[in-house]
């Protein structure tokens, strides 16, 4: 399939045009609405987002320092049954991810057993020798995980990417719902949609459950942000605000008396759990990048002494690597003893000579990604690329094959978006947000649906012109 062909699966409509079960309630409501009124609503949504300041910053754009991620008013709807199946698969995968991380930083059984080549993490910058032999408080590595899912058919959900490092976008899940509820209150009395608004409370609870023992009964949580110029600053402030946690920057923190402390108006006060939205590399200039102004000198010593929880744990980025991803079915089976409930997208590892040959022969048909890349950068989408682009990419691939994986161009499911000419199908993915603590795995019923607003496009990343939708999980 190429990007210009129509998708095989549409979330709202059957091929014959009838409306699917999931959308019955929504469609009934929609048919009763005036088109002009809906158009005005779309305009209203944008000014709503501008006012509340839900913006993101795009690096390298001068004039548009703060941009809006376009919001589409047609919800992505998931039935209760679909969600149950997805939840089971997600929970299994997230448990496996944590067990895998623990193993990687301890006995490395999975490598001894020959299921995973050692070079995969030895070559990986995200793997941190400082974490070897250390177990984070509560044994949790990935406190907050975003699992990117795509769909190709009624029962065909697949994992496209694991975001175990610092998944972002949860504020959009929450604000998109708020926007929908304020624009269309009557809709929510007609269709029973499960709540997402208690995510910040769940997050605070989950983080508190991971606090070090020294923290006492009311652990102090802080959100560490790189500051107002970071692209996700809005989300950092939003989550801190909603959790009732302090929003701190590196300059607010200091290591004193073996504890992480923040500079308050009455002096330094300890922090027990640091939900950091700063990359590993910038976390501690004494341990990692010495030029970092965003982190806290000495925080890794406090961490290794068990006096602070860092969420997510340093070194979890190793699981975001797309070469490791290609082994996830084996990883899930190794640690859970069960077959993976959620399959991967078929993936060719270019490090493997046979796969490389296949990939080079079929570049026009494939999507090729850097193993450490993210945000839709540094990738080739064969079917929509020019001959020249493919030729240039081929050179990069031949020079460093181990740096790439390739996947077939998927027939991602589509979901209607609201356009000037009425509803039109656009490709979507789905990122549910998962919380891990010693008390268990907690999945908020909903998530972030990203949508490629350009007709036929498969790139849903907000940095590349993607938009978002409210994501509904229906109540039984």
């Amino acid at each position: 399939m190429t990007a210009s062909e129509p998708a095989k699966f549409d979330e709202m409509h059957m091929p014959d045009g009838t409306v699917r079960e999931a959308y019955r309630g929504y469609n009934q409501w929609l048919e009763g609405q005036d088109e002009g009124w809906m158009r005005r609503k779309a305009f209203e949504a944008e000014s709503f987002f501008r006012k509340t300041g839900i913006t993101f910053n795009v690096y390298g754009e001068d004039d548009a320092e703060e941009r809006l991620i376009p919001f589409d008013m047609v919800p992505r709807v998931i039935t209760a049954g679909e969600w149950r199946r997805l939840s089971r698969g997600i929970e299994q995968r997230v448990r496996a991810l944590n067990a895998f991380m623990h193993d990687l930083y301890h006995r490395q059984e999975i490598i001894r057993s020959g299921r995973l080549p050692e070079r995969l993490f030895r070559d990986n910058d995200a793997w941190l020798p400082q974490m070897v032999g250390f177990t984070p408080p509560g044994g949790v590595y990935t406190h907050i995980v975003g699992i990117d899912l795509v769909r190709t058919g009624p029962d065909e959900f697949m994992v496209l990417e694991d975001n175990a490092r610092t998944p972002s976008g949860v504020s959009y899940m929450l604000e998109n719902r708020e926007t929908m509820m304020s624009m269309f209150p009557e809709l929510f009395s007609k269709v029973k949609v499960r709540e997402v608004s208690d995510y910040p409370r769940r997050l605070a609870k989950s983080l508190a459950a991971c606090a070090p023992e020294s923290a006492g009964s009311k652990p102090r949580i802080a959100v560490l942000t790189p500051g107002i110029y970071n692209s996700a600053y809005y989300e950092h402030a939003f989550l801190a605000d909603q959790m009732g946690a302090e929003l701190v920057e590196g300059s607010d923190l200091r290591v004193l008396d073996g504890k992480l402390q923040m500079r308050t108006t009455v002096g330094f006060r300890p922090v027990d759990v640091l939900y950091r939205r700063v990359d590993d590399d910038f976390l501690d200039p004494l341990t990692f990048n010495p030029d970092s102004m965003l982190g806290v000198p000495g925080i890794m010593d406090v961490y290794r002494a068990g006096n602070v929880t860092i969420a997510n744990a340093p070194g979890t980025g190793v699981a975001d690597d797309k070469a490791i991803y290609s082994f996830m079915p084996e990883i899930v089976e190794f640690y859970t003893g069960e077959k993976a409930l959620l399959p991967n997208v078929e993936t060719y590892r270019c490090a493997d000579p046979d796969s490389l040959k296949y990939v080079l022969d079929n570049l026009e048909e494939l999507v090729v990604k850097e193993v450490h890349g993210s945000g839709g950068y540094g990738m080739l989408i064969g079917p929509t690329s020019s001959k020249k682009e493919i030729r240039q990419f081929r050179q990069k691939l031949e020079a460093r094959p181990e740096n790439y994986i390739a996947q077939p161009t998927l027939a991602l499911s589509t979901c209607p978006v609201f356009t000037k000419k009425g509803l039109a199908p656009r490709h979507v993915d789905l990122r549910p947000f998962v919380l891990c603590s010693p008390q268990g795995v907690d999945i908020t019923p909903g998530g972030l649906t990203r949508v490629a607003l350009k007709k036929g496009s498969l790139v849903v990343n907000s940095s590349q012109g993607g938009g978002t939708k409210d994501t509904w999980v229906l109540d039984d």
């Binding site: 006012k51 509340t52 605000d241 920057e249 607010d252 108006t265």
Partner: protein, 314 residues
């Protein structure tokens, strides 16, 4: 509360207050120059630029004092890094950096205010749109203050917000008075020409005090009672005494919350001695200009002590 956040909140409210007071000053100046000859108009704009500390910077760019040009310089000129739009921008940047210490109402008021003014001040200021812009600046600042009053918890954050507001306001009032102090000297009150009442009226307007003053003095204009009103009347919300009584209260709240006083509380007591129990005659005896100089210096020392005591910076 983080020291950095206290710092951000304090300055956010200082910038909002300063933007509003600057707009008020320009509006009064504009009104004054409409009824005066060129010489008087030039003198008025020069005095406004002096009050704002911008005279040198302005004269480095322009040779004359055309009203719209002065206002454009003060409100939005790139040649003036301390222009009003930059103040509003700074207030918003601080609000963003302290977003989790503010209510949604306050943040949205500041953010929407910034959007409105950015659009209004996107083009050069002309006589035809000047009043709209000046009114909008005052309105947006008022909305942010109203949202603060109506939605914020009365906690530490609020105390720093109010301290920033009143410290800035006291400073602005003192500066306006200082530039016009010669108009308020008692010797002039015997002259009583129409020109002088116009000048007095202008001083009152610069602080939005003309109505309140007239209401209290049934139309009687004299330098002594104007100075008395603007410095010592604790019913007028821009008077020095009013601002300081609010700051005293806010600092007492902080001391109570923290269980201790700091050097800023000492600075406050020192300022009180300079202000309370004084009559306007005492002030004239000391010399109005001297009094205002000392007041402004004391005000600055107080701001420094607050920053120090509450760990505004590392």
């Amino acid at each position: 509360m983080l020291g950095r956040v206290a710092h951000g909140i304090f300055w956010m409210y200082r910038y909002l207050e300063r933007a509003e007071n600057t707009a008020r000053l320009l509006a009064a100046g504009q009104r004054m120059t409409l009824t005066r000859g060129k010489d008087m108009a030039d003198q008025e704009w020069r005095s406004i630029l002096t009050t704002l500390g911008l005279r040198q910077a302005y004269e480095a760019c322009h040779d004359d004092y055309e009203g719209a040009q002065v206002c454009d310089f003060v409100l939005r000129s790139k040649n003036n890094p301390e222009n009003v739009m930059a103040m509003v921008e700074s207030a918003r940047t601080n609000a963003r950096a302290c977003r989790s210490a503010l209510t949604a109402e306050v943040w949205e008021a500041v953010n929407e205010g910034w959007m409105t003014l950015r659009d209004l001040l996107a083009r050069p200021v002309r006589d035809s749109n000047l009043n709209t812009s000046l009114a909008a600046i005052r309105r947006e600042s008022t909305l942010a203050r109203g949202a603060t009053h109506g939605s914020m918890l009365r906690n530490e954050t609020y105390s720093f917000a109010r301290l920033g507001t009143f410290l800035e306001r006291a400073d602005n009032t003192a500066r306006i008075l200082d530039v016009k102090y010669y108009l308020l000297l008692p010797s002039l009150s015997y002259v009583g020409t129409p020109l002088d009442t116009g000048q007095w009226d202008n001083v009152l307007r610069s602080l939005s005090a003309e109505r309140a003053y007239r209401w209290l003095n049934s139309g009687r204009m004299d330098a002594r009672s104007i100075a008395d009103f603007l410095i010592l009347d604790d019913r007028f919300p821009r008077s020095l005494v009013f601002c300081y009584s609010r700051m005293r209260q806010n600092l007492a709240e902080l001391a109570q919350l923290h269980g201790a006083e700091g050097t800023c509380h000492e600075a406050m007591r020192a300022a009180d001695i300079r202000l309370t129990g004084k009559t306007v005659e005492d002030i004239f005896e000391q010399g109005l200009h001297q009094f205002l100089l000392e007041f402004t210096a004391g005000n600055q020392a107080l701001a420094g002590a607050i920053a120090e005591d509450y760990r505004f910076v590392a």
